[in-house]
Structures are given as structure tokens and as C-alpha cells.
Amino acid sequence: MPYRGMTCEMITLTGDGGTPISAYTARPAGNGPFPGVVLVHHLPGWSELYIEMTRKFAHNGYLAICANLYERAGKGHPDDVAAKVRADGGIPDAQMVGDTAAAVQWMRGQKGHNGKVGIFGSCSGGRHAFIYSCTKSDVDACVDLWGGRVVMGKEELNPKTPVAPIDMTAKLNCPLLGIFGNEDRAPSPEQVNQHEAELKKLGKSYEFYRYDGAGHGIFYYHRPLYRVEQALDGWNKVFAFFGKHLAK
């Protein structure tokens, strides 16, 4: 049932290290109880797309929140802020976990919440969502859309990203949905296979879907990467997955 009425607000969370960070929230009209989704934005930043997707989850009956993980880089257009973060080599994984934990905590304190929280991210946000789900045990389902650098060589590791996410797989605490394009190079189909083999070996609950004729950013309707058929099917898979794992 679509929730055409909703309330959207900007809030301030206490992020990692006590730093105040902004977050966008969307709440469907009604008393609920509603499951919750925490969105982890992609490398292009706390962009309009992620604000829209936050509302999309509310439209579909979820409490939703998306925190600005780039708050510390300064204020400005998301493009410019994201460029600054890119030049700085991204954000530390540990800081992302701290900031995202604040969003999860906010969700769990909401009136009308059903007690279940899903985490959702694409691109770097997919990687981050997976890392969060391996680091914390307070989310009930994880969606990783084409997250790159889950498989990393030792030469890629640094103080900001000290551990390759694939090496965290043993600690994955919830079911995982992965959606990928076979024409992507980051992650490449070979890397997706490698991650799937690790999940299988460790007996983790997961669903991986790979689309032909698609690469990175399948859902990004404002980019040439958009693939309408795969995107529509992919969204159906996201909502089926969350519907299954976030129901009370």
C-alpha cells in the first residue's frame, strides 16, 4: 500500500566522535508500526537522489533516514563536497560506522517503529552498508547495490580502509541482498563471484542477482547508467527482501 502522505524533516544526529551530523528523515502518515530503513549514501554524496530514495521508502511504508556522512568536509553543493571527500581518499570506514550507528539508534527510538531496521546503500554506500552489517549487530537486513572495493588487494588497504570488507564476511550479522551489473568493473563479475563464494563457504544468508546489459548505477534514473528493466526488477527485489526480513 503506498503512503502518499508523509512527514519529512531534517534532524541532527550525534555522529562518530560526538560530531553533530545532519540527517534527512521521512515518515509515512499513520501510526504504523513501520519497519525502518537506514540509507547509506553513495560517493556522489548526500545528493538529491538519496533524499528522493529516502522518501521512496516512506512511500512504501518504511520509516527512513539518510545521514550526511560527508558533513565534516564542509557545507556546499553535494557535488563539491563529494569532490573534496574524493580528493581526501574517501571517509574512514570506522567513522562511517559511528555515524550510521547514530542513524540506526535514532530509528530504534522512533514511535511507531516495528523494531526492525534494514540498511541500504549503493556504490560506496553498498560497501559501507555491508561493512556496517559485519561490524554491528543492530540491523536485520542489508542491501548492497553494486558496492565496489568489497574485494581489495593488500596494496589498497590504508588507515581509512584497514580491512577488506570481504575479510569481514564471517562477522556478517544479517541476511544480505546484492544486486550487480555484469558489465560493471567495480565490482567486476569476478569480484562478485569471489564474494559470493565467501558467503557460501561461511553459510551466510544471502541473495545475489546479476543483470546482463547493465553495469554500475542501474537505478540512477538521471544517468546514462540507468537500465529501466533491470531497475524495476531490482527495486521489486529490494522491497521483497525487506518485506520478508523486516516484517514483525
Partner: protein, 110 residues
């Protein structure tokens, strides 16, 4: 930054953003998803000042082919500039070492 291809170099010069010129501290070259160009991945050039807010950025997104053409043009222009600079230095040195009262014609660069 799923590709993680990013190169940062110090830059000395000026750039313009939002109609205002600002001094540069760095240039950032990346190969990443296009935000605006109608393409998948692109070479992005960001000319920035790290001491100013993120909006102090002159940005370009180029297809890989355009970036290669730009690199060739830069190489050519820089090679010619290096020759000009060497000739200028030679000319100045020659003036400095010329006998008193004897002025050598200065080379005028058109």
C-alpha cells in the same frame, strides 16, 4: 570512488567558480562515475583551494578520449613553453655577460 583512481597534485594558479576567481592549492585528477557528463566513467579534473569551502572548485568531466586529446595538447604546449623559457633565460644570461656599453638586441617573443 568505486574505481579509486585519484591523483592529487599541488597547483599554483587561479581558477573561477560561481563567477569568482580564487587562488589554487591543488588539482585533482580522477577516473570516476560521471555526475553530469552523459557518460559512464569519466576523467574528472577538479581545481581547488583546500583552505576554502568545497564550493571553491572549478570542475570538468571529460570522456577518456577527450582527456587523452587534452593531455596531448598540454604536452605540446608545455614542450613549446619550455623552449621559449630556455631561450628567454639564454637571452637574459647573454645580456648579463655582455661587455659594458655593448647592448645585445633582446629577443622579442611574439
Amino acid at each position: 570512488m568505486c574505481t579509486s583512481i585519484v591523483e592529487v597534485t599541488a597547483a599554483d594558479g587561479m581558477a573561477k567558480a560561481d563567477g569568482v576567481w580564487f587562488p589554487l592549492t591543488h588539482a585533482v585528477v580522477a577516473y570516476d562515475h560521471a555526475r553530469h557528463a552523459i557518460a559512464g566513467d569519466v576523467i574528472t579534473l577538479d581545481f581547488v583551494n583546500n583552505g576554502l569551502p568545497p564550493g571553491a572548485r572549478a570542475a570538468v568531466e571529460l570522456t577518456l578520449e577527450s582527456a587523452k586529446a587534452l593531455r596531448a595538447a598540454l604536452d605540446k604546449a608545455i614542450a613549446e613553453a619550455d623552449i621559449e623559457e630556455a631561450e628567454r633565460t639564454e637571452s637574459i644570461e647573454a645580456q648579463r655577460h655582455a661587455p659594458r656599453g655593448e647592448l645585445l638586441p633582446l629577443r622579442i617573443v611574439a
